[in-house]
């Protein structure tokens, strides 16, 4: 995210860089240790209050819900800087952002008010969401039945991000009458919710992900029945680029560590950075990383300015950034040789995290097909 193109973001940038360095960096290794996904509530709470006070958690939330009402640019800037240190935390913020945006796109005023202005802690504020799922692609979703006063949900939902941490979750489920699905707000402390252990996944280990089974759990519908796809579309169009921003941050971190290491390491009687093939690899990483920054920045601009086809631009540039990221992190490990493969350095984590980020919001090939479908329509 190039804040040079958006001067308003500069003060935020300074705050978030400092926060990432002071509060997140010391815990990166510890949070990447098995068993994964057991968030240290104390750390999250202390961090939460700091970033909540700074306004970052409600960065895109309107002021009436105690947010600071910024746009996607601010969100991307923040996610990128956090990801440069530990992308797991970006996933936490991304997931909370997804829930917020679904609620906002559904104009579910009552729900937003019930959560955000009165949340006392991170558990209440960060709303769980299945961030790796495009509910429209899911083979099965929980079933919702209307029970006069509200709804009850029954069935399984896999890969729910923050599922074992948050009080609330935004859950997609199908109602009998509608073709599309709907979103519901569920209290994860309801006794009808069965939670799996934290899932052992490839990356982003500090952020817990679980499977849940719902058994007649009462739920509040978010917006209209059968409108889930519409809300998801509106949300994901914007949030795709937020995923790209995470990967752009990871790339920046990878390039930086590769440069730092090769400037110190000697082989063949000279600093490794002085072998021309090493420089070429670094150059390729730099080209990709810089191009990714620009993709994210300009996409945000296109979204903010509601440029023609901004949704297509958002998906296309995001998919491109993910491709670049997966290449960059692979070379990032490579440039550290054997050390790159070890947990003592940051590169192996980035190698895992970038792929995990690529899988956000559904299958890559299906996103491509959806894009071309829209273009040729």
């Amino acid at each position: 995210m190039l804040t040079a193109l958006n001067k308003d973001l500069k003060p935020f940038e300074e705050l978030i860089t400092k926060f990432s360095k002071d509060e997140l960096k010391p815990h990166v290794e510890e949070h990447d240790r098995y068993p994964f996904g057991t968030l240290d509530t104390n750390i999250i709470e202390s961090g939460f209050h700091r970033i909540y006070d700074l306004g970052f958690l409600g960065i895109m939330l309107p002021e009436k819900y105690a947010g600071i009402g910024q746009g996607i640019s601010a969100m991307c800037m923040m996610l990128g800087h956090v990801a440069e240190v530990d992308a797991s935390y970006s996933l936490i913020i991304f997931t909370s952002g997804m829930s917020q945006q679904i609620i906002l796109n559904a104009d579910a005023d009552g729900i937003a008010e019930k959560i955000y202005p009165i949340a006392k802690n991170a558990q209440e504020y960060l709303v769980a969401f299945p961030s790796f799922t495009d509910p429209g692609q899911a083979a099965a979703l929980p079933q919702a039945s209307s029970s006069g006063t509200g709804y009850t949900l029954t069935g399984k939902l896999d890969y729910l991000v923050l599922g074992n941490f948050s009080k609330w979750a935004v859950i997609p489920a199908r109602t009998t009458d509608s073709k599309s699905y709907s979103f519901f707000l569920v209290d994860l402390n309801d006794k009808g919710v069965r939670k799996s252990n934290a899932i052992f996944s490839l990356g982003l280990h500090a952020c817990p992900i679980i499977d849940i089974t719902l058994n007649g759990v009462s739920a509040q519908i978010i917006g209209g029945e059968g409108k889930g796809e519409k809300y998801f579309e509106a949300t994901s169009r914007i949030m795709h680029v937020a995923a790209a921003a995470i990967n752009a941050g990871i790339m920046r971190g990878s390039l930086k560590e590769a440069i730092d290491y090769t400037k110190e390491r000697e082989q063949g009687g000279k600093l490794v950075i002085n072998w021309s093939e090493v420089r070429m690899l670094l150059a390729n990483m730099a080209v990709k990383s810089k191009a990714a920054e620009l993709c994210v920045t300009q996409t945000c601009k296109a979204i903010d300015e509601k440029l023609k086809d901004w949704g297509q631009i958002s998906i296309a540039s995001t998919l491109h950034v993910h491709d670049l990221a997966c290449e960059v992190v692979t070379d990032g490990v490579q440039l550290l040789g054997g050390n790159g493969y070890m947990k003592d350095y940051g590169q192996e984590k980035r190698y895992r995290d970038a792929r995990q980020v690529q899988a956000l919001l559904g299958l890559v090939p299906l996103k491509k097909l959806a894009l071309i479908k829209e273009i040729i329509a």
């Binding site: 899932i199 490839l202 000697e266 082989q267 009687g269 054997g338 493969y341 070890m342 690529q358 899988a359």
Partner: protein, 501 residues
């Protein structure tokens, strides 16, 4: 149309047609029994995969996360019971004597299920290769005999290979770099042996091996010319283990730090040193050291190529399984053209990569380190000769200095430089092509599987973690690209120099 002499002259012109199409020339010369033997080994690997590797590999991966200091002692015992640590020890040295090229197919097969387990088996043969290619017949015989005995007694006796140092990784893979590098493992000649000081890092299976092949240098500033290779056994005074690395993948196969502090290694375990090299060759010791390491890597890099294809296959299998079991918009995923095309590409990567390691194997068989054992008459002779013949007639020869002299002459001194270039170049090509394809297929599998691919229990993410190592060890893929250029392409670039920029 053309006279035979003209044909000969045209086809031997650079690039030599034979060198470019080894399989066409050498496949017909392959003893038929080698194929049968290889089939037998593939069947054995598949049985092992069904009974041991597949049921265990994800559980073991999880275990190593729970306890980063977990060592796969039970697994090694199992592999020992299955006879895996003597399969490729030549009969001459008491082993089962399976043909060496077959190890690639075997490791690919196991690697397609678990690269870590494949390495738990395979790296022992890297040690064996380092030992055998030193051409010291007496020490080779003694130590391989221990391996065979260890198998019989149910006490695995494994070999590791220790060349990487904290400040010298790429540098120890190539003598030109070794000459300029910051080496740290010193060997001082004393009466009756050497005293070694220094440490080695990232040594696969270090903690679990009884013997290690160790390189040290009498003059750290002139490492390429003063290398001493020797065998060091666990328990020798001054030899201890350091940390067990915390790796991203292949976690079941430990990588260890080995420390040597005034460690005395008696002459009887010295494989080569500058003096011993002089006894059979007039070539400078630097050239002989390069030839030795080229031989080792010609074999091991082809094998790492096979690991790479194991990874490519594992990823393909995971993606195919997912596509078979999943639906998109109510239709089986495999009915979509785009899915079929992605899977076809992944399959093609497997086949393409395999061809490159097969070419490297053909080079090794006919122009490199297997050239003696895999010659048809020699092959059949060794295969069908009764065991007593080896024990009574040949084995005593190996203990005499004539055994070492003969092996050194054949493998090191008389080796043609152009054959050395061809074998090392093709092994490097196989190494980087196959391992890049391995990582590529992992990436494709994850893209096809989405969140399902991220879950450890589905296997795909583990292959991605495991596969990355393949691009790093046995020389990084950058070094291997440079080696391919240096070994095979350089004649077409007369102005090229190496490691001098």
């Amino acid at each position: 149309m053309l006279a035979r002499s003209d044909v000969k002259s045209f086809i031997s012109r650079f690039p030599s047609f034979e060198d470019e199409t080894l399989s066409m020339y050498y496949a017909p010369r392959m003893p038929k029994a080698m194929i049968k033997e290889t089939e037998e080994l593939i069947a054995l690997a598949r049985k092992f995969n069904d009974e041991v590797a597949r049921p265990l590999c994800l559980e073991l991966d999880r275990k190593t996360h729970e306890d980063p200091d977990y060592f796969p002692v039970e697994l090694v015992k199992k592999a020992n019971e299955w006879g895996f640590y003597t399969l490729w020890i030549p009969k001459l040295f008491g082993g089962k004597g399976y043909n060496m090229p077959s190890i690639s197919y075997f490791l690919e097969e196991i690697g397609s299920v678990c690269l870590g387990i494949a390495n738990v088996i395979g790296v022992h043969y890297l040690g064996m290769t380092g030992l055998m290619m030193s051409c010291n017949a007496r020490v080779t015989k003694k130590i391989l005999h221990e391996v065979v005995e260890g198998e019989k007694r149910g006490e695995p006796c494994l070999l590791s290979f220790s060349i990487t140092e904290p400040n010298a990784g790429t540098d120890v893979e190539e003598v030109e770099l070794e000459a300029m590098g910051r080496l740290g493992c010193h060997a001082k000649k004393v009466k009756g042996g050497y005293i070694v000081n220094g440490s080695k890092i990232f040594i696969s299976m270090g903690h679990l091996s009884k013997w290690t092949v160790l390189y040290a240098y009498t003059d750290l500033k002139r490492g390429a010319d003063t290398k001493v290779s020797m065998m060091v056994k666990v328990g020798m005074k001054g030899f201890s283990f350091g940390r067990h690395e915390n790796k991203m993948g292949q976690r079941i196969c430990p990588a260890s730090v080995l420390n040597f502090e005034d460690c005395f290694v008696p002459d009887e375990y010295v494989l080569t040193d500058p003096e011993s090299l002089k006894s059979f060759t007039k070539h400078p010791s630097r050239d002989m050291n390069m030839r030795h390491i080229d031989y080792v890597f010609s074999i091991s890099r082809a094998a790492v190529g096979a690991f790479g294809i194991g990874a490519a296959r594992g990823a393909f299998n995971a993606a195919l399984k997912y596509a078979n079991e999943s639906e998109i918009d109510g239709k089986p995923m495999v009915t979509y053209e785009w899915v079929q095309c992605r899977l076809a590409e992944m399959y093609a990567n497997v086949r393409l990569g395999r061809l490159t390691y097969q070419e490297a194997n053909y080079a090794n068989q006919h122009r490199g380190p297997y050239n003696l054992l895999q010659m048809k008459p020699m092959y059949y002779y060794l295969k069908y000769m009764p065991l007593w013949f080896f024990n009574i007639i040949l084995a005593p020869l190996l203990n005499r200095s004539i055994g070492t002299w003969l092996m050194s002459k054949w493998y090191l001194d008389w080796q043609k430089p152009e054959d050395q270039s061809l074998t090392t170049g093709l092994a490097s090509m196989a190494k980087f092509c196959c391992t890049d394809l391995g990582v590529k297929n992992c990436q494709m599998a994850l893209e096809l599987m989405g969140k399902a691919g991220l879950r450890q229990e589905n296997g795909a993410e583990k292959i991605l973690r495991d596969a990355k190592l393949l691009q790093i060890y046995e020389g990084t893929n950058q070094l291997n690209r440079i080696n391919l250029f240096k070994s095979i392409i350089a004649p077409a670039a007369p102005k090229a120099t190496f490691f001098e920029e």
